[in-house]
């Protein structure tokens, strides 16, 4: 009887646990790039006879090639990433892969002078491009396009695109009046939108979107800094923030903008308290609460989102807002 009593729960738990569960002691994530063609290393290993494990000992005779391949491999991994939606990828050391590649190429050049100069220039061009340093990228692509290297045509194409990017970026802004300044910002934004349409589904489309976003952000900042000088300044900031949020829902900075928008409302609440003593008769609780609740809504939206780093910041800001509103609320009664 007792034997049955012991065996039953054992069997029961085996049925529950064994169904579809990995049995390895250490759980490993699956292959994220699993697809049947070239993305499958074992498939290539079958195609290429004699392919050895990466741990195969390095040959000092080919250290120049090995060093180059290490840099290019790491760089290529990041090449197709959408930097409008996601932050610039990191390398194994946790550094910005574009910046790290530039340093590694500099070290490579010093260690192996004269080796693969066109490939180095092309890689540098790509890295500068990713960092939106168009002048520097153009200088590197120029080296390749003027050579007889196979990458010459590709470099010439990049030269053509990036020249337009650089020219648009360097276009001067009208600074005579705030309205002119905002208008010229809008013109530039339209220019970047045109460029996005000209290079769809390329890395250049993403780059142009980042530039457009940067200008939209600049517009908000301009209004924010000058809101006391402009008529209906606060309302303009609200409109600009709403435009920014509506336009860049897919941006990696979306939640950051929400937190900053919340900060703006929090600042408005503090300004209202500074202008109207909560203990005085002119203090209007409903006005204060309306502004505070706008901040609360924006912080809460971020705090209630899962998997984003801004969540923690928003939670902290919510607590600060709660304490502030409670303090002013008590004073005002």
């Amino acid at each position: 009887m007792k034997r049955t009593a012991v065996v039953f729960p054992l069997l029961l738990c085996f049925v529950f646990v064994l169904s579809g569960c990995p049995t390895e002691r250490v759980l490993r994530g699956g292959d994220l790039n699993a697809s049947p063609s070239l993305s499958d290393p074992p498939a290539i290993a079958k195609v290429i006879p004699g392919l050895r494990d990466k741990e195969a000992q390095s040959n000092p005779q080919y250290i120049t090639e090995e060093d180059l391949l290490k840099v290019v491999n790491e760089f290529q991994r990041a090449a197709t990433k959408d930097t409008y939606r996601f932050p610039i990828p990191k390398d194994v050391t946790g550094a910005n892969v574009y910046k790290a590649t530039l340093t590694r190429l500099q070290d490579y050049e010093a260690k192996h002078p004269g080796a693969y100069s066109e490939i180095l220039a092309f890689t540098r061009g790509r890295a500068y491009e990713g960092l939106r340093e168009y002048d520097k990228a153009l200088a590197q692509y120029q080296i390749v396009s003027q050579s007889k290297h196979e990458l010459k045509t590709e470099a010439a194409k990049a030269l053509d695109v990036l020249t337009r990017f650089r020219d648009l970026k360097q276009k001067p802004l009208a600074t005579s009046t705030p309205l002119d300044y905002l208008k010229s910002l809008d013109q530039l934004i339209t220019g970047w939108q045109d460029l996005q349409k000209q290079y769809p589904n390329t890395t250049y489309e993403g780059l142009a979107r980042e530039e457009e976003e940067r200008l939209d952000q600049a517009k908000v900042m301009f209004l924010l800094i000058n809101r006391h000088r402009i008529e209906d300044g606060n309302e303009s900031v609200v409109v600009a923030y709403n435009q920014l949020l509506g336009k860049h829902r897919d941006s990696k900075n979306y939640y950051r903008y929400q937190v900053e928008f919340g900060d703006f409302y929090f600042a408005l609440a503090q300004e209202y308290v500074a202008q109207n003593d909560p203990q005085s008769l002119q203090f209007d609780t409903s006005t204060f609460e309306a502004v505070g609740r706008s901040a609360l809504r924006l912080y809460a939206q971020v705090a209630q989102e899962d998997g984003i780093i801004e969540k923690l910041e928003a939670k902290g800001k919510l607590e600060a807002l709660e304490a502030y509103m409670a303090k002013v609320g008590k004073l005002s009664r």
Binding site: R25, L38, F86, I119, E154
Partner: protein, 679 residues
């Protein structure tokens, strides 16, 4: 005779001559005149780098990279194939292969290792639809396994399979039940793993709306989202209700609004807001009629703390229900003797908790501190009750914040009491200084110690340490000799270019001491050289080219270490992300330093009825769990035995008579990364 006289003269000279190197010269000229090894240079001549001469292999590699940049995987594959054939030929001839083929293959396969290592979630979010779903499903499966596994482990832990196999079955034991009953009814809130899975499912729906799996995933997302919303709503309502109970009406108002943001239709939240509004009016009336005792909040906090301490002493988390079940099972299986055993066990637990209460601070004093500080803030100094200073001093002392405790003891007029606290604070600072890896941190701790607690024993010990820290030769990145031996490239001809004789163990041709060298910020290096009187520092200027060469090597080393061992330590130093003012030690030196930490971490208790210790061996020793002690049957030594191919471990207990064997479902070992982002 003459010979003896000469010998005697030599002996006298040797005995009388003072050791020059041991003298300390304040005059720079004297220092220069008595400098040891004045003409010695530790560097070898600079080598010019090899020129590059490409061969067929080099051309193939270049071609492959070009094809990769032109997004032509077939071209890369072709070059990889050619190179593999070339390698095969080389190996057939007995020569070394190029070792490059796998790098060429990686140009098209792009294994996601680097990004996965730094940010796997980000990698998953931008991965293929299959990968996204696979990761989400895996998270859900892990959570399911953990939930079910945790509960079944309790059942399993009561059955001794060993005794059954040896033909002497024993009755189930209910001791493991404490706490599990409360956990069983833990609600339907989604765990961080499930919330993370929801993020991935949503991303799938967003990025691949035309995928055929969308209807199924939409349903899963809806279910998870409903649970998540409900959990968030409940959490906000609970916070609001708690605030309401504590008469924090503004807090309640805030959380009811947050609850409405989660679910606009929540009737509870709306009713709560109305209640808050009503209470605020009532409070106004109360506030005008009854004057408050300003110290009442502090006293209330002390009372609450006392209550929490009492609760802590009671066994089990849901004391009544858990212990009711345990005691009930015990009495049902063993009769009145079982009740006695249960009582004895509870007593042992309580004694252990009393001990912890007397020696540590298991129940935090934060509530008392907050109330006390609030009182101090709100009350003018001349109207404050001096009692509050002592209350705060004691609370801070228990929390280990000795600086605060000292200042409040001073205000309370208890000068004698704070003398021993100063000693404690001094010792704590000295300990932290010794444990600090960075010189700046070390210096800050030592300086604080010397300035704030100058009369303590620790301050006397700190003064020479601080002086030593200020010596020019000690200010920079120190690399021990063993570390340099482990990384020869750093000092070799392509690195600092130090002479190999410095490392050959022969003192006669100048030898580096175990302390190694320190790279000073000014482009100089301080070599700690062995002398008859111990290590002595000598500073050399490093030529620019060598300095750059060294840091190139250092960056490469840092990158390799991060890629192969996942340790970005050196890379952070090389990139300037971490201050280069610490000591780099060899693996062996690090092991020697942390040797005691290699021992398994043990926890457990000693009581009148038995001993129970549990621990886990370090990862280097398979990370297996160990235990020893005695229970109601006999003394035992236990070890967890993982079984390959099935997700179950066995806890083997060797004891007098028949050994015990308890099965245990293996739970997922990895916690969710950044769990806070999914709570």
């Amino acid at each position: 005779m003459n010979r003896n006289r000469v010998l005697l003269s030599v002996l006298l000279f040797v005995m009388l001559a003072s050791p020059v190197s041991a003298q300390d010269f304040s005059d720079r000229l004297m220092q220069k005149l008595n400098d040891f090894l004045p003409t010695y240079t530790p560097f070898i001549p600079l080598e010019s780098p090899d020129r590059y001469f490409p061969d067929e292999v080099g051309k193939k590699v270049g071609d492959a990279i070009v094809h990769a940049y032109l997004q032509n995987p077939a071209g890369v594959e072709q070059r990889a194939r050619e190179l593999a054939e070339h390698d095969t030929k080389l190996v057939t001839k007995g020569e070394q292969s190029t070792g490059l083929t796998s790098y060429l293959v990686a140009l098209v396969t792009q294994p996601p290792t680097a990004e996965v290592a730094t940010d796997p979630d980000l990698a998953t979010l931008s991965a293929s639809p299959d990968a996204l779903l696979q990761r989400a499903d895996q998270l859900l499966a892990e959570e399911k396994r953990e939930r079910i596994g945790r509960r079944f482990n309790w059942i399993l832990s009561t059955f001794d399979v060993g005794s059954l196999l040896f033909g002497a079955p024993r009755a189930p034991t209910p001791y493991g039940a404490q706490g599990i009953v409360s956990e069983w009814e833990g609600g339907n809130d989604p765990a961080p793993r499930e919330r993370k899975a929801l993020v991935f499912y949503r991303e799938f729906l967003r990025r691949f709306p035309d995928d055929s799996r969308v209807p199924g995933i939409t349903q899963k997302t809806r279910d998870l989202d409903t649970r998540r919303t409900q959990a968030m709503l409940t959490a906000e309502l609970n916070r609001a209700e708690k605030a309401l109970q504590e008469h924090d009406y503004w807090g309640a108002n805030f959380h009811y609004h947050l609850a409405l943001m989660v679910d606009e239709s929540s009737s509870k939240a709306r009713a709560g807001l109305e209640q808050v509004a009503a209470r605020l009016q009532q409070k106004d009336e109360l506030e005008t009629t009854t004057p408050n005792d300003p110290l009442a909040e502090v006293k209330q906090a002390q009372w609450e703390h006392g209550k929490q301490t009492f609760q802590y002493l009671l066994p089990g988390s849901g004391f009544v229900k858990d212990n009711f079940v345990v005691a009930g099972t015990q009495i049902a299986t063993e009769g009145l003797a079982g009740a006695a055993t249960f009582g004895a066990l509870t007593m042992v637990q309580t004694i252990a908790k009393v001990f912890r209460l007397a020696t540590g601070n298991p129940v935090p004093q934060q509530q008392v501190i907050t109330a006390g500080e609030q009182y101090v803030h709100d009350t003018p100094p001349d109207k404050r009750n001096p009692e509050v200073y002592e209350t705060l001093a004691e609370a801070y002392e228990k929390e280990g914040r000795l600086d605060k405790a000292i200042s409040y003891y001073k205000l309370a007029g208890k000068g004698d009491t704070h003398a021993h606290l100063q000693e404690h604070a001094g010792e704590a600072l000295l300990k932290m200084a010794k444990q600090s890896e960075h010189q700046e941190q070390k210096e800050n701790y030592l300086r604080t110690l010397v300035e704030q607690y100058p009369a303590t024993k620790a301050a006397r010990e700190a003064a020479p340490l601080l002086r030593e820290l200020h010596l020019p030769a000690n200010r920079g990145l120190r690399l021990t000799k063993a570390f340099l031996r482990e990384h020869e490239e750093l000092t070799g001809p392509r690195g600092l270019g130090l002479k190999s004789e410095l490392f050959d163990g022969d003192k006669d041709n100048v030898e580096l001491a175990d302390e190694g060298l320190t790279l000073l910020g000014s482009g100089e290096v301080a070599l700690q050289l062995q002398t008859d009187h111990g290590p002595r520092a000598k500073i050399y200027a490093i030529p620019n080219e060598r300095w750059e060469q060294f840091w190139r090597q250092f960056r490469e080393k840092g990158y390799e270490q991060a890629a192969k061992q996942g340790d970005p330590g050196l890379a952070l130093l090389a990139q300037g992300a971490e201050a280069a003012d610490r000591t780099l030690k060899s693996q062996r030196e690090k092991n020697d330093d942390s040797g005691w930490r290699m021992l398994p971490y043990l926890s457990g208790s000693v009581g009148g009825s038995g001993v129970d210790f549990r621990g886990t061996l370090p990862k280097e020793f398979a990370g297996t769990r160990l235990s020893f002690g005695s229970d109601q049957r006999s003394t035992y030594v236990g070890m967890e035995i993982p079984v390959p191919f099935i997700p179950v471990d066995f806890l083997f207990l060797g004891r007098n008579g028949f050994p015990s064997l308890y099965p245990r479902i293996r739970l997922p070992e990895q916690n969710v990364k950044d769990e806070k982002l999914y709570q």
